[in-house]
Amino acid sequence: MLVSYNWLRNYVNLDNVTPEELAEKITRSGIEVEGIEYLAPKSENIVVGYVKSCEKHPDADKLNLCQVDVGEESLQIICGAPNVGAGQKVAVAKPGAKLPNGMKIKKVKLRGVESNGMICSLQELGLDEKYIPADVAEGIFVFPEDAEVGEPVQELLNLDDAILDLDVLANRPDALSMLGVAYEVAAILDQPIELPDENLTVDESIEAKDYIDVKIDSIENNPYYGAFIIRDVEIKPAPLWMRNYLMASGIRPINNVVDITNFVLLEYGQPLHAFDYDQFGSKQVVIRQGKENETMVTLDDQERQLNENNLVITNGKEPVALAGVMGGADSEVTDGTTNLLLEAAYFDSASVRHTVKQTGLRSESSTRFEKGVDPNRVKRAGIRACSLLQKYANGKVAGSVVEVDALDKSEKSVTVTTAKINQRLGMGLDEKDVTSVLSRLQFEFSKNGEEIIVQVPTRRLDISIFEDILEEVIRIYGYDHLPYTIPQGWVQAGGLTDIQLLQREIKNYLSSAGLMETLTYSLTNEKDATRFLTPDIEEKPAYPVGLAMPMSEEHSHLRLSLIPEMLRVLQHNVARTQTDLAYYEIGKVFVSREEKVVNQPIENLHVAGALTGLWHNHPWQQEKKPVDFYVAKGIVEGLFAHLELDVTFVQTKMEDMHPGRCAVIKLNGKGIGYVGQVHPLTAKDFDVKETYVFEIDLESVFAVHQLAPSFTDIPRYPSVTRDIAFILDNDVPAGDVQAVIMEIGVPLVKEVSIFDVYQGEHMEEGKKSVAYRLLYQDPSRTLKDDEVDASYQEIIEKVNNQFGSYVRS
C-alpha cells in the first residue's frame, strides 16, 4: 500500500513528524514501511506562469516565442510543445532551476532569440510516466485557471510529497485504506483523527427506486448491495488535488467519475463500481452465481468463461460485472456517460478469492475484498462517493439508496484484565497504561471491576481474542519496554538423541577422512529419482514421490538415492577445473510403496560419498594415487570400524554401476548399501570421469548400533602370528577365504588380514596367490606353539577342501 504523506495529513496532524520519523514509528508499531519515495527534489525556481502571448519563432516553424508572466517579472521563453498557447497557466522553470532529471535551466539563445526559462511537462517535473493521465501525457501541463501566478508548482502538483510503501500483511486489511492508516498513525502519535466529509445534499426529486431494483440470489456471498443513482454527471478531469493523490498512490487518473471511485476505494478501503446507467441494459440488478458456459467481456476486453463458483452482477439477463473483481466492458463509464449507477457492496472474501484464482485477475478491488472490508464502511463509502460526485461532477444524487442488507455489522467485544496482560507479557503495567492504548486506538471500552470490556471496531477484523488485545497494548506501548527474562521453573537436561549424536559422529569421521560435506536438493528429475537403488535392501517395490505441479523438470521428484545430485555436484566442479574431489552427504530419501502416492512416504536417512580424480597427489615426489575401488571401500570399512559394526562386502551387479566393481554392503546378512565404480556410461551421462561412490542406509545402522561401546581390557599376554599363502582359482573371492579362516580359527584367531595378492608370472594360468596373516591370541594366557600349529594345520586343510586350493611353498 502506497501512502501519500500529504494525503494522510488531511486526517491526522503530522506537523511534528517527518516522513522518515513517521515511517520508523509505523514500522516499529507493526506495519513495515519498506521504503520512502519523494516525488521530486525541492526546487524554488519552478512556478506557475501565465502565457501572455504566444507567437511563432521567426526562424523556426516548430518553436513558439512566448511572453510569460511569472509574478514579479515577465520572461521570454521559447517553447517547442505543440499545445502551448496564450492564456494558459503553465509550469515555468526559471533560470537557475534544476529539474528532477538533472537538467539545469539557463538563459540560452535558440536560433538567435533569447529564451529565459522552460515551460515544463509533468514528466519533466518528475512524475512517473505510467501514472500521468492520458489527457496531459503529451506536451506541457496546463493548470486549472484558479492557479495563482508566481506560486511554486511543488505544492500545486504535490511534488513535495513523500510516499511511504507499507507492507500490509494478511492480518491488517484495515491498513489497505487511508483511513485505516490514519487510525493507526493517530494511535501511534497519540493524536485525534479527522474523518472525511460525508455530507450529502440529495436531490429529493429523484427517487432511486424509480430507476433501479436490487435482487440478490446469493445472499451468503453478497450480504449487502447498495445501488446509488446519480444523474446528469459531467465527465471531465477530476480536481488537481485528487489527481495528485491518485498519482502519488500509484493510480493513473482517468476522469472525474472513475477517479472518485478510486479515490474512495483508497480512502475507505471499500471498492465501488460505477456503471453507465444508460448502458446497464435494464432497471434491475440481479446478483447471482455464474452459469456453466456463460461468458462476459471484462473491462480489459477479455472474454471470460464463467461457472457457478463465480459471483456475478447481472442486469437480470446477462452478467455486467465479475463481483468485486472487474466490471464489464458494455456498461463502462465513458466520456458520453450522463447517468450513473453506483455500486457499494460487500462481497464474501472466499467467493472473490475463488474468482481471482480462476481468472488470474487481481485488482485493487479484489485485493481488498479477498482480505476483508469493514462492514460498517460499505454504505458510508457510497455516500462519500456521491458527495464527491455532486461536488466534482455536478451530479444530482437520488434521494435514497436501493439496498439489500443482510450484513452483520455488529462489533465484537473482548474482555481483558490488566493482571492477565501483565502475566502474559511479564511486565507490571498499570490499568491506565492499558486503557490509554485503547483510547489512542479509538476502541471503546467499559469496566467491570478488574475487567476491561473492549468493543472492537469492525474495521479491525483481526481482533477477536484476548491475545489480540494483548498485542495491541504491547505494540503501541512499545516492545522496547519489555524486560529480558529466561523461562523459569521447569528444567530438563537438553541434548541430542543417540541417533542425532551418531549422525554427528559419522560427519566427524567422514570429515576427518578427507571428505567434504555437500548439501544437495531433495528434488531431482524423474529419471534420476529411481537411479542408484541399493540392491536387495528391500524386497518391496520402491516408487519415487512426484510433485503435483513441479516448477521445472529438473526438480520434479523426490530422490530415492543421494548419488545423482552428488554426481551433478562433481560435474559442476569438474567443469570448473576442480578435478580431485571427495564428497559426502547425509540426507533423506523418500520411498513410496504405492505407485500412485496417497500416504506419506517412508523417509530414510542415507549417507553417501562420491570420489573422483586423485586421492593423493604429491607432485614433486611423483606420488600420485588416483581414487579407486579400494579407496572408497576403505572409507566405508573405516566408517563401520569406527561404529564398531561388522559388515561384509559381496560382489554384486546393479544398474548404473560398473559390472565388475561393485559390492553390496551387508550388515547381519541384510544389504544396507553399496560401494563401487559408477558405470562409465552413466558417468558419461553425468559428464564426470572415473567416479567411485558409496551409499548406506543409516536407518539400518541406527537399528543395531549401540552408542556406548563397552570396555575391553588391553591384552596382557603376547600374540602369535602365522602367515599362509593360498593358491586360489581367480574367481574365488579372497574375502570368502578370509571369512572361512576366521570361522575355523575362532576363538584362538583374533584377526585375519590379507597382506599380499599375486597374479601373473610364475603363476599357473587362472590362479592367484593370496597371503593371509593370522593373529592368535588368548586374553588369559600365553598360547603354546603346538596348539597354534594344530589350529594352523586345521585351517589349511579345511580351506583347501572347501576352495580346492593349495598352499604356496
Partner: protein, 344 residues
C-alpha cells in the same frame, strides 16, 4: 713396577687421544689391556712383590685399567658421534620443498551453523526434535491455525504432492507433532532444525529448498519477556556480545502476538550502512506467543499453559554471519566455497 704402570697409563692415554678411528682404538685395547697387552705383561711380575706392596700395586693397576678403559670408551663415543654427524650432514634435504598435502574434509557451512545453534539451545535445556519432510496438510497448516482457504496460506507457496500431502513449508509441523505427542500434560522445550521447501525460483536470495530452525517453549507462565530474553541470548552468542536486539510486531497465524527480531548491524554498529539499508538493524527471525488455538488443537489448555515459538532460516543466519552474498552457493557445493568454511 709402579713407574712402569704409570708409564703405560700415560702412553696409552696419549695414544688414545691421538687415535683417529675405531679400528685404531680396537688395536689399542688389545695392545694395552688384552691378554697379551702391556698391562697384563707387567702384572705378571706381581708375584715377585712383597705382601705389603701387592695390594698397593694391585689397586694402582686397577686404576690404570679403569682410566685406560674410560679413555677408550670416551674416545669411541666421540668418534662415533663424529661419524654420525658426518653422515647426517650428507642427509641434508631442502626443507623449502612442499610437504605432503593432507586431504582435509569438513562439514558444510550450514551444518556448522546448525550445530552451533543446536548446541546453544541444548545448553539452555532444549531437546532437538525432527519430523518428516513430506507432511500432511493437517500438520503443516491446519494444526498451525491455517485452515484451508485461510488468506495467509498465500504467504507460502507450497509444493503439493496430493491434496493432502506436501513438502513441508516450515519446520513448525514438528512442533505440532511434539505437542500432540505430549498430550497437553507436560512442559516442552525444543528446537526443530530441518529442510523446508517452497515454490520459489532460485536466485540470489531465494531457494526452493532451504533450512530452518525453530524453537518452542510451553509451560505455565511463559511470557513474552521470556521470548525476548531468550532471543537476546541467542543473538549475542551468534553475532557477538555487543549486539543489541529489538522486537517489532508482525503477523504469523500460529503466534499471537507475533514479532520479528532485528539485531543491530555489526558492520556499522547501528549507525546505518548499505548492509542494513541505512536502518542500523538487520531482520533475523520471527516468533511470538503460541496462538491459543494452536495450543488447544494439540491438547494444551491455553488457560493454564502458554508458550513462545520462534523460527529462522539457517541460510540467512549463515549469510549474515559470514557475509555470503548468494544463497545458491550453499547448494551449488563448489569446492572453492565449501573449503572456505570447513570445520571438521
Amino acid at each position: 713396577m709402579k713407574e712402569e704402570l704409570q708409564a703405560i697409563e700415560s702412553e696409552a692415554l696419549a695414544a688414545v687421544e691421538e687415535a683417529e678411528d675405531s679400528q685404531a682404538l680396537q688395536e689399542m685395547k688389545v695392545k694395552y689391556l688384552g691378554k697379551k697387552g702391556s698391562l697384563t705383561t707387567v702384572l705378571r711380575g706381581m708375584g715377585k712383590l712383597s705382601k705389603e706392596e701387592r695390594p698397593v700395586i694391585g689397586e694402582l693397576a686397577n686404576n690404570v685399567r679403569a682410566s685406560i678403559t674410560e679413555a677408550l670408551e670416551a674416545k669411541t663415543e666421540k668418534l662415533e658421534r663424529e661419524a654420525l654427524d658426518k653422515k647426517l650432514e650428507t642427509e641434508t634435504i631442502d626443507v623449502t620443498l612442499p610437504g605432503n598435502p593432507v586431504h582435509v574434509g569438513g562439514r558444510h557451512l550450514l551444518t556448522s551453523i546448525m550445530e552451533e545453534i543446536e548446541d546453544l539451545f541444548i545448553g539452555m535445556g532444549y531437546e532437538v526434535k525432527e519430523g518428516p519432510e513430506v507432511e500432511t496438510d493437517y500438520y503443516n497448516f491446519e494444526k498451525l491455525n491455517l485452515p484451508k482457504n485461510h488468506p495467509a496460506r498465500d504467504m507460502q507457496d507450497t509444493f503439493f504432492i496430493t491434496n493432502e500431502l506436501l513438502l513441508r513449508t516450515q519446520t513448525s509441523p514438528v512442533q505440532a507433532r511434539t505437542m500432540e505427542a505430549y498430550q497437553g500434560n507436560r512442559p516442552i522445550k525444543m528446537i526443530c532444525p530441518g529442510k523446508v521447501y517452497r515454490r520459489d525460483t532460485d536466485d540470489a536470495t531465494h531457494s526452493h529448498q532451504f533450512r530452518q530452525i525453530e524453537g518452542l517453549v510451553v509451560d505455565k507462565n511463559i511470557t513474552l519477556s521470556d521470548l525476548k530474553g531468550t532471543l537476546d541470548v541467542f543473538a549475542k552468542k551468534m553475532f557477538g556480545k555487543d549486539r543489541k536486539i529489538r522486537l517489532r510486531p508482525s503477523f504469523f497465524p500460529f503466534t499471537e502476538p507475533s514479532v520479528e527480531m532485528d539485531v543491530s548491524c555489526k558492520v556499522c554498529n547501528g549507525e546505518g550502512c548499505s548492509v542494513c539499508k541505512q536502518t542500523g538493524w538487520i531482520e533475523i527471525l520471527g516468533g511470538g506467543m503460541v496462538h491459543p488455538r494452536v495450543l488447544e488443537m494439540s491438547g494444551y489448555d491455553s488457560t493454564i499453559y502458554s508458550g513462545f515459538a520462534f523460527g529462522m532460516g539457517q541460510e540467512r543466519i549463515a549469510m549474515l554471519k559470514y557475509g555470503v552474498n548468494d544463497i545458491r552457493h550453499f547448494y551449488t557445493n563448489d569446492v572453492r566455497f565449501l573449503s572456505q568454511y570447513h570445520q571438521a
